[in-house]
Symmetry: C2
């Protein structure tokens, strides 16, 4: 049902293959975010077309609406949504802290009021596992405590220690054999706390490990320092998932430091806001310079959008408030991310990852203040 | 470049074939409305997937934004939008009356202020032809005067007479040989005025004729009475286009009265509002009865949405405000309309149109106050 193997190494970068009950995932892989059971502005058919392999859904949103039992009744995420490839759900641990109103946090769990309608809920490791078992994703996450940064060291330390205890409770409560449960390492940007958290999680022998608690307000050099540290501490034969990251540059830097899986709202959210990713940096389609521009978003891109739509057309539709713009730009940004990772994986397989990394970063910085070629 | 032929007759219903520089259209055909150069919430690829043959764009909207010259510069509608099949543009005559602010109408044309930003524009037959030549659709419409109904007979008569004079000016100003210019018959619901308008337009020898000025507030029986009258007065060897109509029942009733082409915002607009068309009538997806309904919108439908999404899922996404819902429901409604017309055409070819008409209307009325099966 499940397996993971690293096929090729290039330095610390890994080309791997993850098998799940709903299909294989070549790593490193990027997971589009399908918060409420859909990736915004695109359909499962679009996801297939851009080469998505695995999609993330948010436990917090789905337990509130439409409810995890309803999703279970309608076939789990696979049957309910029509994306029948692999799914991963987060545990709700991060979003209950960032989105819910009136939260109280204690050793038992988090009591909160829904941001939708104020209904009171309790989310504990046991309840999170129950929700995720109902949602039926292939990979589920341990319920963790993720503090926003910056935070005092004692807060970060306490959260990391609680995350370890909650990981153990998650493991005991999680009983579906057709789901893999990953543990999440916390500890902020403190090397000692990170080491302790990693060792404690590894001792619990999860089939995969996430680096949580980053991209939450810390400085970028700290992010990559922690990822490099995790690379040395997490088992090499298990997938490493860097949660909530990142830009294209972040992706290659994290792959260079041993990461296999990513999720981030950046490509999708930015698309809806008219910001397109290209190999030479980002462009904001509203800019008047694109009004008559007949070129596709990225002239080097072979996605469905770049082969049919000009910057001028996308700009027109975006300014006109047309949903079609959001779809076309989301398709491009997702393809850009996914194709970047496909190419990155190939460079690892061919033994030229460092060249790829250098070329990619040089191309990105060639137009650091907005793209134009 | 262009031709039209009626292949099979069934009573007054016609199965025909229209050839344009950008492809063939089997009639009767329904044109999805791509107001500002995109059909809302779907992409050209979706349009191909549901079997759209020809798409309508609105001159009024496009001349205001992004401007007809810009569209021309970027390849006309075909190149600009990525829909490279046939396009039809309306003349702006209807929408300048229904949408613009501070309009003054005289024999020359219409002076108005844009609903977007208040800029003053003038739309005359000559300007409308210039805009439509820039937009580059395959079929363009004469610039007409379309009064809202009800209106006093003298207003309707004056508008019809002016429409005849403006049709002549449109013909003289229209110089692109790779576009067919259709004339539009007016006259409200008055039989005498309609007859006069039809004879005057037919005398100008257009390659196709539209019945304008209906579905603008008149009683439904009057609509079909006028269509039947037009059937007797318009040439049989030229396409007849009923503008702005209608419901599925309207379509079959109009085909029974000799109509070949339709456009209407109903399937697309209603989709975005959560109303789905099925062979047993419409359903409103917000309704609590669909909360756990595992069935597709129409269990008899083979569209991409019905083969992958349940009512429960669409309801969830719609209530969550997800764009994906608008896309999935628009795909279904468009497929429903287009497939209904494909089946209707086939029934004409097979000599069983009246049976088809009867079955279709019976199925629709079987659940007149909301569908449920």
């Amino acid at each position: 049902m499940f397996s993971f193997a690293v096929d090729v190494l290039a330095g610390r970068a890994r080309a791997g293959r993850l098998l799940t009950p709903h299909g294989a995932v070549d790593t490193p892989a990027f997971m589009p975010v399908g918060t409420a059971g859909a990736v915004k502005a695109v359909t499962p058919r679009d996801l297939h077309e851009v080469g998505a392999q695995i999609v993330l859904a948010n436990t917090y949103h789905l337990m509130l609406r439409p409810g995890d039992e309803l999703v279970a009744e309608l076939g789990g995420l696979h049957g309910f949504t029509g994306w029948r490839g692999p799914w991963l759900t987060d545990s709700g641990g991060y979003q209950v802290m960032s989105l819910a109103k009136l939260r109280t946090l204690d050793e038992e769990g988090v009591t909160f009021r829904s941001h939708l309608d104020g209904t009171e809920y309790v989310l504990t490791p046991e309840r999170s596992m129950q929700v995720q078992m109902n949602l039926g994703a292939d990979i589920v996450m341990a319920f963790d405590e993720c503090p926003m940064l910056p935070a005092p060291r004692d807060v970060v330390a306490a959260a990391a220690a609680r995350t370890t205890r909650w990981a153990e409770r998650s493991r005991r409560a999680h009983t579906r054999r057709d789901q893999w449960l990953f543990g999440i390492v916390q500890g902020g940007v403190d090397a000692e706390l990170r080491e302790r958290s990693a060792r404690e999680l590894v001792a619990q022998d999860f089939p995969g490990y996430a680096v949580g608690g980053l991209a939450v307000g810390e400085a970028k050099p700290d992010t990559m320092r922690v990822v490099a540290q995790m690379d040395r501490l997490l088992p090499e034969d298990r997938p490493r998932y860097l949660m909530g990251v990142g830009t294209p540059a972040d992706l290659v830097e994290a792959v260079a430091r041993g990461i296999d899986l990513f999720d981030c709202v950046l490509p999708t959210r930015n698309a809806r806001n008219g910001q397109l990713f290209t190999r030479h940096g980002r462009l904001s389609i509203r800019n008047a310079r694109y009004r008559r521009d007949p070129r596709p978003p990225d002239p080097g891109c072979s996605c469905p959008t770049c082969t049919t739509a000009s910057r001028a057309y996308l700009r027109h539709l975006h300014l006109a408030g047309e949903m079609t713009a959001a779809t076309l730009m989301t398709v491009h940004n997702l393809f850009f991310y996914l194709d970047t990772l496909r190419n990155m994986r190939q460079s690892i397989v061919l033994g030229r990852f460092e060249e790829f990394r250098g070329e990619m970063l040089r191309a990105l910085s060639a137009a650091a203040d907005g793209v134009d070629s």
